[in-house]
Symmetry: C2
């Protein structure tokens, strides 16, 4: 942590931009005004845009190992391919957490929510590996261990067929006990590492698991996270299981709250949207993943009109297959223009930036600490080089950033006042070394369809009415 003063940097104002200075003392913004005296280091902000850091509000970092290789499949079959991957190791989890963080930081993100897939029988080591990575690189991280207490095959509706399912290999009680251990060991917001409770979703979790997580959330003041109604199959399944929508069921359980963020929310009814608004829950929109998996177009404009907090995320890198937040923000903004002829409802670039920053912070219950350029807030800041070819000719800086396809434009990043990126380079870890490891621990290949997918495919096609 060090003190610094950014000079002559462009920042957005209500109706345009201004060039000003910004002072950071310890980990906080202490002044925003022209011609400040230097405190600590002087940073030249000329021809640069300063914005609050964005939040990558939902990812699964270890999916990076499979990006590019899973064929075009809907979620349920894609998951089968994912689970067919040779076992991860904690070392690989460490490397992919770093890789994810690098891409997030270099596309404007300062916080990541990692819905972390756990290696069976090495669950605690998995979490320790991710914590190590995030602490080393210095990104603010919410680690949300991905837990379930029902087997994968139960995630597809039965469609009236009698099916046999193997029980999940851990009991609900064991999982909740594990979660409490994780919280005690790793939850440490001061150091930038938060643990969140995150049952994977109603499709693979019992009510007892949700309830247990709620209790932990209340006891330790933790954020709540989950997948929600990502696919039409999940919508059908909720009706099969509960006779109501998954949103109504979660509301009945009491899981929805102003610190609950829900990934996807593609198959919401109008009533579901009303409930999410009333409970002040946050929708985490993953536009690339929703397209890649053919999940659908989430009702984002409607949700925003109903007052729901909507934020952006990349989702895991094998359903996207990238961790570039600017890409998620661009597509997550413009995608919805085709859902409403009335352009007055469309998301503007400025609104998109606010969703990605202050909205993201709100969804993680830290809107009082980060998410905007305000005196007193923590210095989670990103500077963009407006002189880069991909942001030229000069027009509206935020328009270029959101609607363009900027690359290599992030020049400086600070998280909690600590500099993580300087002159476009990550300063806290050895990125060349990371690149070598990612190269050496992988090989080029063309994946063949897995046996588990073949086993599930016939039933999936039957339930979804797709024919043979």
């Amino acid at each position: 942590m060090s003190n610094f003063t950014i000079h002559n940097v462009v920042i957005p104002q209500a109706d345009g931009y201004t060039t000003t200075d910004v002072q950071i003392v310890d980990d906080k913004i202490t002044a925003i005004a022209p011609e400040l005296n230097v405190t600590g280091t002087a940073v030249n902000g000329e021809h640069q845009l300063l914005l609050p850091g964005f939040i990558n509000a939902h990812t699964h970092s270890s999916e990076m190992w499979l990006r590019g290789i899973i064929p075009p499949f809907p979620l349920e079959l894609w998951l089968a391919e994912l689970y067919d991957f040779p076992l991860l190791t904690p070392e690989k989890v460490y490397l992919s957490a770093l890789g994810n963080a690098v891409e997030t930081l270099l596309s404007g993100g300062t916080t990541v929510v990692d819905h972390l897939v756990l290696i069976p029988h090495q669950e605690l080591d998995t979490i320790a590996a991710a914590v190590r990575a995030y602490k080393e690189i210095g990104i603010r991280a919410f680690i949300a261990p991905l837990i379930q207490d029902l087997p994968l095959s139960m995630g597809i509706p039965a469609g009236g067929k009698v099916q046999n399912h193997e029980p999940f290999f851990r009991s609900t009680a064991e999982i909740l006990e594990f979660m409490e251990t994780v919280i005690k060991q790793f939850h440490n917001p001061e150091s930038g590492i938060h643990i969140a409770v995150a049952p994977t979703g109603t499709q693979l979790c019992t009510d007892a698991l949700f309830t247990g997580c709620m209790e932990l959330s209340d006891k330790y003041d933790l954020c709540r996270h989950s997948h929600l109604l990502e696919t039409k199959a999940q919508e059908k399944l909720a009706q099969e299981k509960y006779g109501c929508s998954a949103v109504e069921h979660l509301q009945n359980l009491g899981y929805l709250s102003d610190r609950t963020s829900l990934a996807h929310c593609v198959w919401l009814s109008d009533q579901d949207i009303t409930i999410l608004g009333q409970t002040q829950s946050t929708i985490v929109h993953n536009p690339l993943s929703n397209l890649r998996l053919g999940s659908g177009i989430a009702p984002i404009l409607k949700s925003r009109q109903a007052g729901v907090n909507v934020v952006f995320a990349c989702d895991g890198a094998s359903s996207n297959d990238s961790q570039d937040l600017l890409e998620a923000i661009k597509i997550g903004s413009i995608l919805h223009n085709v859902t409403d002829f009335d352009y007055r409802q469309w998301i503007t670039p400025r609104q998109a930036v606010e969703m990605a920053s202050l909205g993201g912070a709100k969804g993680l219950n830290m809107a009082d600490k980060v998410g905007s350029l305000e005196v007193g807030k923590q210095a989670d800041l990103v500077m963009y080089n407006l002189n880069h070819l991909s942001l030229l000719p000069r027009t509206d800086p935020i328009g270029l950033l959101v609607l363009g396809r900027p690359s290599n434009v992030v020049s400086n990043v600070w998280v909690n006042g600590r500099q993580i990126v300087a002159d476009g380079e990550i300063t806290t870890i050895d990125v060349d070394g990371l690149q070598k490891e990612l190269f050496n621990q992988s090989q080029w290949s063309v994946k063949q369809q897995s046996q588990i997918t073949k086993d599930m495919e016939a039933h999936y096609r039957f339930v979804m009415g797709l024919g043979d």
Copy 2:
């Protein structure tokens, strides 16, 4: 032009990849086989992927000057904003053509179709400026002068209202005479510059203009291009004007052919798709622009199933607002997964690459010359650095390229055997100089809504049933 041999480069095969050598003599691929002797320069292809160059099959290069700044508007109002821009100069046209070409080349493109907006009263100078740019940088270019003979206000349906329109400032005969001058002066495929006939679309062109362009196309063996059914307003307008769809009307005129490429095609009926298939016309899909302008999702899967040739493009940089072909290919592939639950119809990364290369070539009537890695074809080639962090860990190279968000991965580009990009840098023009010019000739601003938009908005909202 020089001879060279690429060693140990990864190329796709039917069911995977192989590492091989590729020899280029003069402007053609002369051998693809392992362990070739070096002819001319040796190029190290280790850990690189070689693909045929992609075709950016529809853009308007001078829109680069307005990227990032036009607010979220549908096409008809967005156009009004575009036309409100202070007059371009030929020098600016030259610079933006270079800028467009740089982004296209560094995202895998070797050919661009520039539906070039003409500066009133400087039409010939506009074209000369673009020709100069494309010759200097060395990209293969189809320059399609954007012509119309009806005023902008006629592009919106009347909706039963009586309206007065100013006549267009040039007669149809003058425009056709101008086109013939352009063709004689600039059409020179040998040098990499093609002229195409390109009435902007049925919404702003008379039948006489289309017919005249067809005659020029036949006389000089030119490709035909046009916008087609980009918006719902255009669909309504065609019914108003012709009592049939715009596709049926173009078929009646005889404009559709195997060298006709049609940008957008969002509002096609099943019958329209059949006609496009029967006439062997090409659909140029501009996914980012269609989202940005809220035009809709083009029926790409249906069209492909009907045997229509579908290719990708960026569209102009103020409706995208980028010229990154890899972005257009990614979004143009995955977007359609939400339009069909049957994932067996979804576009695979390999299909996307073929659409962008061979498909693009087919749409420009040069599939016998470029578009695939085959002995005897012109060397329009792109090499991708598979060791770049954005393409790691190693999985399926084409999957990573298409589904990821690669940046800075294009290492080498040759067009017609001439090297344009080496080690990731453009070699033919001074990119730093270009950057300075783009910076100096522009300024940061927040555009206010133009008067012309305000004038058109009430009628647009009335016709589209949007209320006040």
